[in-house]
């Protein structure tokens, strides 16, 4: 299968290249970057040196489409909707890693404070654990945000079972989610030995979490992200308040039932940790401690993999009828 990547020089682009390097069915035929046009991939992403002999190109969208069966758009929100219509018009399937097609247009416009220029388009929210069947039939998959992936998966079984009344998602993320561009937020002395709450009640991923959990059941949703001194990973502490108290065993059973045949969901006996999922496409779930009407569920993902490029490949696998685990069946890297 021929794969194009629009926007290959950033972190999610690099991660697509890293993961696809060992995908048995994928051949990368185009990687675009205006800034690094003509440079070999191994110079921009030294970890890919010797592995990939491709170079970045500055290509028209039509040329990317012509070469490809599937295109990953790994560009910022607002930019993606500039590429997607043209790609689809050329009968290419698209996995969009931006936020542009995740939300209902009206909610998108208020959340991202911009006009959506492709409102009529139908896309599938690419969380396979909730939407596998639709993903398989889709030409356009909106790859979920990193926080929503961890949060939704941490709560879905209790919401779906109509047990949850209110959830406080308190998430701790590595800094790679802020991207490759240096800023005060990513400045080492500001991150190291620190923890930084931000957009405490207003993060753009909140509407996405609400939208998807609302499909499963009614529940009040709160979300507060924090940056911790880590490059990769998101650990989400879901404080789930339930209507009627239940035991840890009850809760665990709901999760085991819902995720029984999910290849990338691991219900752990031990506490989830960032190191167990680092570099992998797994979402680890654990804890289930109960105190009165509060159940605590912990999820851990690699924000770059299950939270972005790995899940994008999982979606590609589904869209093309490949084995869902294809190219993704690697353990986390610990320690």
């Amino acid at each position: 299968m021929k794969v194009g990547i629009i926007g290959g020089s950033g972190y999610t682009g690099g991660e697509l290249l890293r993961l696809l390097a060992n995908h048995p069915n994928a051949e990368i035929v185009a990687v675009t970057s205006r800034k690094f046009k003509g440079k070999s991939i191994g110079v921009v992403h030294p970890h890919l040196s010797a592995i990939s002999d491709l170079s970045f190109e500055d290509l028209p969208t039509s040329e990317v489409a012509k070469r490809s069966d599937v295109v990953f758009t790994a560009v910022p929100h607002k930019a993606a909707m500039g590429y997607v219509p043209d790609l689809l018009a050329q009968n290419v399937k698209v996995v969009d890693l931006s936020a542009d097609y995740r939300l209902a247009p009206a909610i998108y416009e208020s959340t991202y404070e911009t006009t959506h220029t492709d409102q009529a388009r139908k896309a599938t929210y690419g969380l396979p654990e909730l939407h596998r069947a639709e993903i398989k039939r889709s030409d356009l998959v909106a790859n979920p945000g990193c926080f929503p992936t961890g949060a939704i998966l941490a709560a879905a079984p209790l919401v779906k079972a109509a047990k949850a009344e209110r959830i406080v998602f308190d998430s701790k993320t590595g800094i790679s989610g802020a991207g490759m561009m240096p800023s005060d937020v990513t400045h080492y002395p500001n991150v190291a030995e620190n923890v930084a709450p931000y957009e405490v009640t207003t993060h753009r991923h909140l509407p996405e979490i609400k939208q998807e959990l609302a499909l499963l059941g009614k529940c009040k949703i709160h979300f507060t992200p924090h940056i911790i001194p880590s490059v990769r990973g998101i650990l989400t502490t879901a404080h789930i308040f339930v209507k009627e108290t239940l035991t840890s065993e009850d809760a665990l059973e709901l999760y085991e039932d819902m995720y029984a045949s999910e290849p990338f969901m691991r219900i752990l006996e031990t506490m989830p940790s960032l190191s167990a999922v680092r570099g992998s496409n797994f979402c680890d779930i654990g804890c289930f401690d109960v105190e009165g009407d509060r159940v605590v569920v912990i999820s851990a993902i690699d924000n770059m993999v299950k939270g972005a490029s790995g899940q994008a490949i999982q979606n590609m696998n589904l869209m093309f009828g490949l084995g869902e685990k294809s190219g993704l069946w690697a353990p986390g890297m610990a320690p």
Copy 2:
């Protein structure tokens, strides 16, 4: 004033020595350690080399009492109550940094799963912002736990004003709170690039937080701690659910009012951070974002200073009628 320290080789003992080195009224007359008996302080705590020319001694309690006006007991819980009665019997004032005198005896016994051998003793909970007057009159002050200090101060104004109905304290702590003894929990590969929730519903500091907030008002309290990759510091995200919605300005005003004349409380315009309080006795408070019935308040302390040894010295200052800021009026160390 003559100061004795029982248990001077651990982190809180070292921090007492670091802070007292510049206290204008304190002269350290005894520092005990069985393990390091005879060793100079600068060999065990190299950062104190040249600053202190004391050596550790293995002394009977009576000898420490004889030399001292005030004694800090910087030993583990259970051990402290073996020293305190003898010290008080010799008319020495005591600041106990352990948990032994913080809780009502019955709650102590169930929480710490041990027998309290000195149940009749009256101690004052040493949080000056709540109990300053009693501290001034006390011979025995139970120095608060690190998490309770940050959590109580983050919520007290809203609880006292009868606004809060339920609070989820989601705390992120540096690893120094786990002490000087290596373990799996403190092993660098387990801490770095990770975040570790622990005792998610059952941490021993929960009854302490509940006890103190109950003095101010009625409110449901939840508490979940996490270890982040930092040596020092606790940042607490207080998700405070209120009975009737209020504005950020309303909330801020309650905090400014309650803490107006508190020397070590800083209400910040910017987001609290561990670096701003690092090494200092300040408790920084900020955020006050409101979303429906949730108000988010963030507090930051140095767990070793305001969360332990600094607050102990603040208590000593109050017990002896010294300036409350004496020896403690230092900025945080940033970056």
Copy 3:
């Protein structure tokens, strides 16, 4: 090919399991651990959960040998030489990850202050870049130490060309090299925001570096290791003093010539970094800056992969006539 692992619960054992999980020719048939006997691998190494359904066994050596074509001994030095003779006697090939067979027996005994109980045994030093042909013919390969791998490869071309007179290897290593057992050395507050020189002139890897470079040419060798706040990786700064000054281009050419067909050696245009090799079997080499009679060459490896388990698998591939890159052709994980 059937693979046994003696000592699978430590870091190098876990790394063997991680890497072999995707090796197309390897089937793991036995993983021993006394301590974790009966436990599933995913409980001890949560990152391997779902990937491996094996459990640890406490097996007699003969049973491991019976099941296996090749056995990795991932046990401490002194212990390995207790297993190797029995394994070889049963016609199993062995890659020993300990130090037991790396050095001439007399040097081993003085370096490791113990008696070598299997002195007559012939083993091949498993650095493919120097000993590929012998490795292919060997039944017993002594897998190199982590520091020697990075140091020898950083200097070999200049030593072989008889240019080098004296080398100061100043190495910076992640803490995982200290193993899984917590100690003062691995205690987070001692590692974070610090750098720790140790065994500054006496590290046990020095004789190994000297032995191998002596095969290539005459040169004075110095070596000083430091622990930096990183989990994985070794960056070695080789300060190479040359007999006659040469240019950067001259130096570079020697390296490109010697390593031209080496699959895991990458001569980078950019400065080597730990992140580019993290999790991979590459040894990156770069810099070549010249200042008078000093040439600076920088190497970077992942101490757990090219410095241990990855190189062990590379050796296995060679010993069995498999593709040398088999199971190892993965990029580093950056960021």
Copy 4:
């Protein structure tokens, strides 16, 4: 004594403010910043909130001079020599934290690739351990660079005793030396879990190290810096090659003799570490291991304190006849 600071918003300016906050003889009368003009110091440097009630001003040099007895110029090189002549013309003493007056003008011009506009000016190199007497008589002190401070002090006794023939300084620095401005170099994912050699043979501090050691004796000097994942601190490994072998005891004695009455030099029995000096003005020296003709000496400083602002205050104390330890006699902050 009235103190002015030109350039108070960066890291060295913030550190001057932090340290001077507790200086018994210093009153800060002016802190300039164009960018933050009118902002209170506590908003720009939250750790100084409540401690300082000053605000940044955008003042003409003459006004700063008028208010001050001493002025610290904490501005980049090239900028400093624009302020210094005017300040001195108004009979103010100056400690310049930039590189502008450290080197002989010709060497300055080639090193910093710029024209020196104040070449006739006589300044004293402000390393008290080498130039105390001259500093006391000076109106203009050029505060040493951070690397030179650690390197020179690590080698001075052996160079002065004419024992050293060649020295390789391999330094490991925290990232705060790169300043407050975010860049690729300070981007958290590039620093964390990594180590970055840079300007491996060409760092601008090399001529400074050479100039000062040349005053003590003849010796070949090499210097290579590395950035490690730490905010503060420089640890320098001095590989000192000696003309005739000597013992560790011989070496130690030279250091003890030279530094016997130096208040901020600590010769440690244990290995120097960044944590023991963190936040303090100490330079810790240790190791002295000998291997053939190589003696290894390790020094540790806080680059922001002894490597910059602390040493600047030490110089001020000397220039004004104050106690040298005034305002600086604080222990390091460990852990």
